[in-house]
C-alpha cells in the first residue's frame, strides 16, 4: 500500500496529490451544482411548479448562473462586524465539508479514497468542525438574528452529533471496523446482506440525525427564514455566502454517500458498474432528503433538543445493545 508518510516527497508525487485534489474539487463542484438543480426541480414538482427552466436547456445551467452571479457580486463586510472572523468563518465551514469526502469509497477501485482505519470517526470528527465556522459566522456578523442562528446551530449540531455517532455504532460492531472500505466489503459477505436490514433502527436514527446535522427541514432552525431571516448567514453576500451554500450541499452529498456506504452496501451491486450503483443509491437518499424538505414544517428548538436527548439517544443506545446481543447469539 502507498504510504505517504514513508515515501520521500518528490515533486512528482506532490503534483499527483495536487492534481487529485483539484479533480475531486471540480467533481464536487459539478455534483453540488446539479444537486441544487435537482433539489429545485424535485421541490418544484412536488408543489405543482416546474422549477428552473430558463437558463440553458431545461434550466440545466441555472445553478451555474447562480454561482457566477454570487462570485461576481460585491463582497460586503458589515462595518461593525468582527472582520477577521467574518472572513475566516466561511472557510472554516467549508474546508471540513470538502475534507470528509476523502474517506468515502465511491467505487470498487478506490482512486480518490483514503483507506483510513478510522474513516468513520474521521468523518464524524471533521464534520463537527463545520459547526465552529457556523457559530463564528453568527457571532462575527454582529447581527442579532445571526447570533441567534449561530447559537441555535451550535446547540443543535452538538446535540445531534451524539445520536449520529451512536447510530453508526451498530454498523461498526457488525463490520468490526471503522474503515469504510472494510464496512462495504463486509456487507457483501454478511449473512443479512446490506446493513439496512439488521440495522434498521440505526438507519432511521442516522437519517434523522443526519437531517439535523445538515440543518435541513424539519431541523432548519439555525437558518429559519421565517424566524431568523436567514440565521447565521444573514449578513453574508457574494462568494462568502456561496461558500456556506457550497458546504451545505457538499454535506448533503457527503452524508448521503456515507449512508449509502454504511447501510446500503456502498458501491456493491450486480450488472452495473460500481460507481453507477453508488450514484443511484446516493441519489435515492438525496431525493429522500429533498422530499422531506418539501413536506415538513420546522421543529421548535426545545422540542428538537428533547427529541435528541430523550428519544434518539435512548433508541440509538438500545440499538447498540440489540446489535451486541445479536452478534453474541449469531
Amino acid at each position: 500500500m502507498f504510504s505517504w508518510q514513508a515515501t520521500p516527497l518528490r515533486p512528482l508525487t506532490l503534483l499527483g496529490m495536487l492534481i487529485g485534489v483539484v479533480v475531486v474539487l471540480a467533481l464536487v463542484l459539478g455534483i453540488v451544482t446539479y444537486l441544487i438543480y435537482f433539489e429545485r426541480k424535485v421541490i418544484g414538482w412536488m408543489q405543482g411548479r416546474i422549477g428552473p427552466n430558463r437558463v440553458g436547456p431545461l434550466g440545466l445551467l441555472q445553478s451555474v448562473a447562480d454561482v457566477l452571479k454570487l462570485l461576481i457580486k460585491e463582497d460586503i463586510i458589515p462595518a461593525n462586524a468582527d472582520r477577521a472572523l467574518f472572513l475566516l468563518a466561511p472557510v472554516i465551514a467549508f474546508v471540513p465539508s470538502f475534507m470528509v469526502l476523502a474517506v468515502i469509497p465511491y467505487t470498487a477501485s478506490h482512486i480518490f479514497t483514503a483507506n483510513l482505519n478510522v474513516g468513520l470517526l474521521y468523518y464524524i470528527a471533521l464534520s463537527s468542525l463545520t459547526i465552529l465556522g457556523i457559530v463564528m459566522a453568527g457571532w462575527a456578523s454582529n447581527n442579532k438574528y445571526s447570533l441567534l442562528g449561530g447559537m441555535r446551530s451550535a446547540a443543535q449540531m452538538i446535540s445531534y452529533e451524539i445520536p449520529l455517532g451512536l447510530s453508526v455504532l451498530g454498523v461498526v460492531m457488525l463490520a468490526g471496523s471503522l474503515n469504510l472500505v472494510t464496512i462495504v466489503q463486509h456487507q457483501a459477505t454478511d449473512r443479512f446482506g446490506w446493513y439496512i436490514i439488521p440495522q434498521i433502527i440505526g438507519f432511521v436514527v442516522f437519517m434523522i440525525a443526519a437531517l439535523a446535522e445538515l440543518n435541513r427541514t424539519p431541523f432548519d432552525l439555525p437558518e429559519a427564514e421565517s424566524e431568523l431571516v436567514a440565521g447565521y448567514f444573514t449578513e453574508y453576500s457574494g462568494f462568502r455566502f456561496a461558500f456556506f451554500m457550497l458546504s451545505e450541499y457538499v454535506y448533503v452529498f457527503a452524508i448521503s454517500a456515507l449512508a449509502t456506504t454504511l447501510f446500503l452496501g456502498g458501491w456493491a451491486g450486480p450488472f452495473l458498474p460500481s460507481w453507477l450503483w453508488f450514484a443511484i443509491k446516493t441519489s435515492a437518499i438525496i431525493f429522500f432528503l429533498f422530499w422531506v424538505r418539501a413536506t415538513m414544517p420546522r421543529m421548535r428548538g426545545d422540542q428538537l433538543m428533547s427529541f435528541a436527548w430523550k428519544v434518539l439517544i435512548p433508541v440509538a443506545l438500545f440499538n447498540v445493545v440489540l446489535t451486541g446481543a445479536l452478534s453474541l447469539i449469531g
Binding site: 405543482g48 411548479r49 442579532k144 441567534l148 421565517s226 431571516v229 415538513m296 414544517p297 428548538g301 422540542q303
Partner: protein, 367 residues
Amino acid sequence: MCALRSEEMILNVGPQHPSTHGVFRLVVTIDGEQIVDADPVVGYLHRGTEKLAEDLQYVQIIPYTDRLDYVASMLNNYALCHTVEYALDLEVPARAEYLRIIVMELQRVASHLLFLGTYLLDLGAMSPFLYAFQEREQIIMLFNEICGARLTYNYMRVGGVQWDAPPGWIEKVRDFTAQMQKKVPMYHQLVTGNEIFLNRVRGIGVISQEDGIAYAMSGINLRSTGFNWDLRKNRPYSIYDQFEWAVPVGKNGDCFDRYFIHLQEIEQSLNIVAQAVERVPDGPIIGKVPKLVRVPAGEYYRGIEGARGELGVYLVSDGKDKPYRLKLRRPSFVNLQILRKLLIGQSMANLIAILGAVDIVLGEVDA
C-alpha cells in the same frame, strides 16, 4: 435554564421581516431565546382611510375599503354598503343578495386559504403555501371574471352589486365548490396530522375565554376559545338565515384550534356557496338607489362577520352626500391587542406561531 441568566437583548422583528406579513414591527426583549417583553408598533401602513372618507362620496369610499383587509376585499365592500343600506333603509334585490353571499363566502375561503398557506410557511413548511395558492388562484380568477379585478374588487354598490354574473359563471362556481370540497381532506392529510406541526401549535398561545372577551376579540380568535359567537348567526344580516351551516368552535383557544377552525370554516363557507348557487334567482342586481346617495343625519353602526372577526362600520352623517365621520372597526387591529400578553414568556419560535395564528392583515391593522 433558570440558573443561567444571560444578558437581555432587544430585537426588532420587522418592519421588514419575512413573517410579519407586511410592515409590522414588534420590539421584543429576549433573554436567550425567551421573550421577556414584546411591544407591537403599528402604523407603517397607515393611509388615513377614515379621514379620507370624510371627503368622499359613498360610492367613492368603496374602492378604499378594498384596501383595508386586502385579502378579503369583498367583505369590506359589503360592510360599508350594508351600513349605508341600513342607514337608508334600502331594499336589496334577491339576486344581488345571492351574488353577494356567493362572493363573500368565496372570499372567506380565499382569505382562509391564504392564512393556511402563510401560516404553514411561517412554520417552515413550503408546500402547503403553494397548494393553498393554487386553490386561491381559482377563486381570484372567478372574481376576475365577475368584476374585472383580482384583488381590489370594488364590486358592491349601495343597494346591490355592480356587475351581474357573466354567463356560465354560476356553473363555474358550482364546479369549483365541488372540487374544493374534495380538496380539503388533502390539507388534513398533509398538515393536520403531522406530528411536528401538532407539536408546534398545540397548547401554544392559549387565549382564555375571559381574555378573549375582555380584549374585545372576535372572529376565529374568539371562537377558538369555545365562545360561540358568529355575527352571521348571532346578529343575522343579509340572507344567511336561509342557509344551513354550522359555526365551528374550538375548545382550548390555542394555535391549533385557530388553525383547525380556519379549515372547518372553509368547509362551512363552501357549504353555503354550494347551497346558494343552486337557488340564485333572476332579477335586478341593484335596487332603487338615488344617483347621489345622501344618508339621513344620524349615527349608524353595523357589524358583519369578516374573515378575521367583527368588521364594523360606524357612520355619522349630517345629511350630506359625504360621511361626517366614518369609523371602521377593523378586527385585525382589535385582535392584535392581546399579542403582548400572549408573547411574554414564549420563545422566539413560538412568536412566529402565535403571531401567525392571530392572523392579522396589516392593511387592516393600520387602515
